[in-house]
Structures are given as C-alpha cells and as structure tokens.
C-alpha cells in the first residue's frame, strides 16, 4: 500500500515491527519517569515520616477544592486523549481531532488553575525560597512540605506543558491527514505519555492535599 511505504522506516521489516518498537520505547521512557518522580515521592515519604505535624499543617493550608477540580480536569483530559486514539484506530477523524484538541485545552485549564493556586500561596507567604513567612510551630516541617509541594507540582507542570505542546504538534499533523488506521503510532505514544502525567497527579492529589483534614 503506497501510504504504508512512505511511513515505514528503512531499517524495519514491516509496520507491525515499527509499531511495537515505538510502543516499547515509550514504555521504557515512562519507567524512567517513574524513577524520576520516585525520588520525589521517596523524599516526601521520608519527611512526612519525620515531620507529621508540619505536613498536616501545610496540607490544611492547601486549596483542596481547586486540587480536586484539577484532578477531575486531568482525568477528563485523559478520557479525550484516549478517545483520540480510538478515533485514529477506526478512522474517526472527528474523534481524533476533537479528542486531541479538548485534551490539550483541559491541560491548559489545569495549568491556569495551578497558576491561581501558586499565586494564592504567594499571597499567603507560603513559597519557600521566595517568600516564606510562617510564624507558627512546625515551621521547618511546613517549609519542607511547601518546598516539596512546589517542586513536585512544578516538575509535574513542566511535564504537562511539554505534553500539551506535543499534543498540539500531533493535532496539526492529524489535521493534515498524516494518520490512518494503518499508521498512527505518534497518537498512541503521546497518549501513553499523557496518561502517565495524569497518573502522577492521581497520587500527588491525596498526598499533598488530603493529609489530616478531618473536621
């Protein structure tokens, strides 16, 4: 098939091998990300073990509702990204394009809400290293909690931003008819990346926002 000739790279036997290669490559990359975030989660565990009161105090100062809404936003964005893969697989152009577009858009919504939160913390002088002023007890623990909050959500946000950019690139390529049921590897592997970023947030939300909130 002429179309498949142009997308098959010279060192591969067939499209099947090419597809398996790109999928395996992305999964290995995602495991490197697991280890990367793993350092942060391990740090979190070590310091929560050492400063339980400080972490609880810090967590109570978080905007729990925004966090929950953001969680839902990312989950819905994952749904749309998954839908775009379904569209690519079945030749459903509308699903492919709208899935990618809405997914990316919801990613932007997440970033906006995050920005609102960050600004909010800045207003409350809760940004270690930039503007931190915590006069109550557990100061060390609270400072470390907020440090980890900013680092973990910051690195997550960087990953999400990169994801949004790549989704837009794929969207443009999809708009130009680059993908078909026979060949849509980039859509699939970008989807895998997006869902991974979502999963990181699934864990960040309870660990950062839901410590010891009982009334």
């Amino acid at each position: 098939m002429a179309e498949s000739e142009t997308v098959l790279e010279h060192h591969f036997r067939d499209l099947q091998q090419q597809r398996e290669v790109s999928e395996l490559g992305m999964w290995i990359f995602l495991m490197t990300e697991v280890l990367l975030f793993g350092v942060l989660f391990t740090s979190y565990t070590v310091f929560r073990h050492s400063y339980p009161a400080g972490f609880a105090a810090g967590s109570r100062d978080m905007e729990t509702t925004i966090g929950a809404v953001n969680t839902a936003v990312l989950l819905i964005s994952s749904f749309f990204i998954a839908l775009s893969v379904y569209g690519a697989q079945t030749g459903g152009r509308k699903k492919l394009l709208w899935g990618l577009a809405i997914g990316a858009l919801l990613g932007v919504v997440f970033m906006i809400l995050k920005g609102v939160e960050y600004y909010d913390h800045y207003q409350h002088r809760e940004v270690p290293g930039i503007l931190f002023d915590y006069a109550k007890p557990n100061a060390h623990g609270v400072e470390i909690f907020f440090y980890l909050y900013f680092v973990m959500t910051g690195i997550h946000a960087i990953h999400l931003t990169i994801g949004i950019c790549i989704v837009v690139v794929i969207l443009v390529a999809a708009y130009r008819g680059r993908y078909s049921p026979l060949y849509h590897n980039p859509v699939e592997i970008v989807g895998l990346y997006w869902h991974f970023v979502d999963i990181v947030w699934i864990f960040l939300f309870p660990l950062l926002y839901l410590i010891d909130l009982k009334r």
Binding site: L24, F29, G129, F132, G141, I144, V151, I155
Partner: protein, 560 residues
C-alpha cells in the same frame, strides 16, 4: 606476461563501505548510521579521556611531595573533582556502550541499525552539549565539591561552579538514557531470524543488562542534581540540616544512582572480555547460561547495595548491616563470571594477540579490585579504610585495571571491523605491557597507603607516605605512555595499516560475516542464525572445514 588466467583472481575492487559511501562533514554530522555514530563517540570520548587524565597528572605531580606545594588546597579539590566528573560521566559510562556497543550491537544481531537511529544521533549531540558545559567549568575556575557533590557543602558551602557542572551532568544523563532505551528495544525487536536469546553473544547480554541499569538509575541522578541546584539557588531544601533537611538523603539518592552506575561501567567491559576469551582460546564460553544469568544478577543486586557508601556517614546501624550483607551477595555473580572465563581458558588453544592480553589483564586486575571490594563491604574494616587511598585503589583496579583495559581490548579486537585496517601488533603488545606495568605501579602502592591511613582528597600528607606516593606517581607516568601509544599507532593504522579481511581473528559471530569495514546497511542479505554461539570446533564436535569460523561468509554457503 603470462596469458594464463588465474582461476580465483578477482578484479581490483573498490568496495563501498560505511566510511567511504559518502564524504563530507555534513554526512558525518547528520548521519543516522550507528557505525558512524560509534566513531563520532570514539573521537569525543578519547578527547575527554585525555582531559580527565590531564587532571590526574596534575594530582600525581602534587602528590610527589608531602607538602602542598604545587597547587593550593582548593585547586587540588578542583583537580580531583574534575578528574572524577570527567572520567565517570564523560568517559567510563559512555565508553564501551556508546563506542563499541553502537558499532557492534546491530552487527552482532544481524540488524541494519538500532531501533531509533535518529535518537542515536541525538544522544551524541547531547553528549557534546554536556561536554561543552564541562569545558566551560574547566576554563572558568572549576568545581571543588568532589564528583560526589555531597551536601551541604555543594548547596551552601562551595563557591565554585556547582550548578554549571551539575547542568552538564544532567544533560549528559539524557544521552545515557536514550542510548539505554535504544539498546533495550533493539535487542528485543531487531534480532535476525533464528537468533534466540540463548544464541546471542554475551556482549549483547551485557549491553542489555547495562541498558536496563542506565534507564532505571540515571533519572534518579537527574532529579537529585536538580534538587541540589534548586537548593543551592533558593537556599531552601531537603538536604541541609540548617533548613531541617538531611544531608544523608542526598547521599541515598546520589548513590542509588552511582552504585548501579559503576555496574554500567563494568558490565560492558565484562561483555567484551566474554567475547575476547572464546575467540583467543578458540573455545565456547564455559557455562554460557551462567554467565548470562550472572550478568542480570549483577545488574539487579547492584541496585540493592548503595548504602555501603554511607557506612560512616550516619545511616542507621540496621541499614548498614542490610547493605553490608547485600554487598557480599553482589560479589557472587561477578565471581561466577571470573570462574567461567578461567574455565573457558582451560585446555583452550590460546593465542596472545593484543586483545587477549588486555582480557587476561582484566581478569587478574578485576579480581583484585573485586576482592578488595569485599574488604570494604565489611563494616568493621570499612570504618578504618573509608575515605582512604584503599578505596581509591579498589575502584581504580576495577575501573582502570578492569574497565579501561576491556575498552582497549575491545577497540583492538574490533579495530579491523571499524577501520578496515590491522593495527601494528608489535607496538600494540608493547603498549599493553606498558599499561599493565604502569597500572600496577600506580595503584598497588595505594592499597598500602590506604591501609596505613593516608586519607583521600588531601593535597598534603604525612612524610612517611612519600615513598609509596612517589612510586604511584612514577607508575602514572608509565601508564600515560601506555595510553598515548595506542592513540598514535591506531591513528597511523587507520591510513597505513595492513588492510583487514572480513574475519581476521577467525571468530564466530555475525559481525565477522560481513566485510571490514561493513557496508552502510551492514548485511547484503539478512542473516539467518541456526548455530549456538561460540561454535568453535572441539574434539567431540569437530566442524567440517567449511563450517570453521572464518572460513565461511554469507555469500559462500557451501553446496551439499
């Protein structure tokens, strides 16, 4: 002139191979051919090796006298830091995988290229960018934290270019991750038909295990250095006790990467030795399955021992005991390999070509290095020799006596394949001998110095240590000569060396079934593998003349 037609005269041929299929800088800098990328890495890594070696020369010059008289204390700190940073990240880690692995792996598995050729080129460019950061640091005053960047000195105490250095290392980490990912996918998905896992050469097993370590450990280093940079910049963080943090957590994360990193360094070397020994003993590897599993065993257990770097740093006693016990375990698979190589040599038909000299040197020196590792794994003994020259001697025996010798052995072994030329054997043997003697003179005295109590990273020392230090520095100068010689004669041979045939060593393995140098697409026809690896003839299984390794090429399959 006779008019007789000579039966097997061949017309003079101009063979097109990967080196001459296209000329010009652009064809090299934009290549996606794994062989050219291997050569690009070889050039970069050689440069970094000599720069890192230069810092070692300065250190050994300073250590000729007990007083600190050549450089200031802070300069000396910068010297050992730059030596460590460059040698670890810009030489040892990439060396065999990026140079020999890139070149040989697709050939060994009968593939046209690696799984992601463009990413392969990208990994080289990332290496170059990382190196540029290092050059910047070298010319602008260096960094003095030690290659281990312990906090809080690196985050709050040092006033040198810590962040620039960690940036360079952060960047080059991605080169490692990409290479590792590339190799794993290549080995899984690009093997020739019939090439099952247990028919693979052991070098492939080693590269695979190395790649698994690369992808799992390097991200940890990346984010740890990032946290270090953030802490240094914003003066808040988790590694500084003044801020409520724990400096030992940095060490946990740093060594979670850096201990497996030493296995990234040594496993490819072991893989090379596993190729050299069967070729130059003309015997299949004794206990192939054990060597293959031991390779994975080292990779796995290597992740469980990092706390042995922190026995005296403040980790809890129970953690120390756990890590000590696990450190003993990791010696087992390494020992299995040494036993199996030795058993392969037994009753083999041994020839002492240069690659074999390096392989034999590896076995002996790695064994010494490895055994002294066991000394260090013992809690009671480590208390006394931690941070002394004993540790330095231990890891240099493994890294230089082991790894660098394996690298040189591999370079010599595959040189005919890479360049299409033979190196001058006489000079090569001489250089190998000089390296072996120079190495031992440099580093054996350091075991004694450490045992006697001379601390590492000190530019001045007690006068009673001078004799041993002078011996060590003398050895270093000899070692330097040994390293310079190959640079000269290998470059010479690339142009003037005797032209090499496809299989000059008469070895088994798919890489020898194609021409020296290979054509761009490696194989004219995809090979089909039906034989076990290292299928050398034995008394029990004498092969037909036509089946002898080296007698057969793919184009000349005998009829009947």
């Amino acid at each position: 002139m006779s008019s007789e037609v000579i039966a097997d005269a061949k017309p003079p041929e101009v063979t097109v191979n990967y080196l001459n299929e296209k000329y010009g800088l652009k064809s090299w800098l934009l290549t996606t051919d794994h062989k050219r990328i291997g050569v690009l890495y070889m050039i970069s890594i050689t440069l970094m090796f000599f720069i890192g070696g230069f810092f070692a020369v300065l250190m050994r010059l300073e250590l000729l006298t007990p007083q600190g008289d050549l450089v200031t204390a802070q300069t000396y700190n910068k010297l050992f830091t730059m030596h460590g940073v460059i040698m670890v990240w810009f030489f040892l880690i990439p060396s065999i995988p990026a140079v020999l692995g890139n070149f040989v792996l697709p050939l060994m598995i009968g593939a046209q290229d690696v799984a992601f050729p463009k990413l392969n080129l990208l990994s080289w460019y990332i290496y170059v960018v990382g190196s540029l950061f290092t050059f910047y640091v070298v010319v602008s005053g260096g960094v003095d934290t030690g290659w281990t960047f312990y906090t809080p000195f690196s985050t709050a105490g040092s006033n040198t270019h810590v962040i620039a250095t960690t940036c360079g290392i952060f960047i080059i980490g991605f080169s490692t991750i990409i290479s590792g990912m590339n190799f794993i996918v290549t080995v899984h998905k690009m093997r020739a038909p019939g090439l099952t896992w247990f028919r693979l050469p052991l070098f492939v097993w080693s590269l695979y295990a190395t790649s698994v370590i690369m992808v799992l450990a390097t991200p940890v280093l990346a984010v740890t250095l990032l946290l270090l940079a953030v802490e240094r910049t914003f003066h808040v963080g988790i590694f500084d006790p003044a801020l409520g943090g724990d400096p030992l957590l940095f060490q946990h994360f740093f060594w979670f990467y850096s201990h497996p990193a030493v296995y990234i360094m040594i496993l490819p070397g072991m893989g090379v030795v596993s190729e050299l020994i069967p070729t130059f003993a003309r015997r299949k590897v004794f206990g192939y399955n054990f060597v293959a599993f031991a390779t994975f065993g080292i990779a796995f257990v290597g992740f469980l021992v990092w706390g042995h770097h922190m026995f005296v740093a403040g980790e809890s006693l129970y953690a120390a005991m756990t890590f000590s016990f696990l450190s003993y375990l990791v010696a087992i698979p390494s020992a299995i390999k040494v036993f199996n190589w030795t058993a392969t040599l037994y009753k083999g038909s041994i020839s002492y070509d240069t690659p074999m000299l390096y392989a034999l040197g590896f076995i002996g020196l790695f064994t010494i290095g490895g055994l002294t590792g066991l000394f260090l794994a013992a809690l009671g003994l480590d208390v006394h020799v931690h941070d002394t020259y004993f540790v330095i001697a231990h890891f240099h025996y493994i890294m230089v006596g082991g790894m660098v010798m394996a690298y040189f052995g591999g370079i010599h072994y595959w040189w005919p394949k890479i360049s299409g030329r033979m190196y001058p054997e006489g000079w090569a043997k001489l250089a190998a001998l000089i390296v072996f003697l120079g190495f031992n003179l440099t580093f054996f005295p350091q075991f004694i110095l450490g045992y006697l109590g001379m601390p590492r990273r000190y530019y001045a020392y007690a006068p009673e240590f001078q004799v041993l230090n002078v011996m060590s520095s003398a050895g270093a100068s000899i070692l330097g000569v040994g390293y310079l010689l190959p640079l000269i004669y290998l470059l010479w041979s690339a142009k003037y060396g005797k032209k090499a045939e496809a299989n000059p060593w008469k070895a088994t393995g798919l890489e020898w079934q194609t021409s020296s140098p290979p054509p761009k697409e490696n194989f004219a026809v995809t090979p089909i593998v039906t034989e076990p690896p290292y299928n050398y003839p034995t008394l029990e299984n004498p092969l037909k003349e036509s089946e002898q390794p080296g007698k057969q090429s793919l184009e000349e399959v005998p009829v009947g």
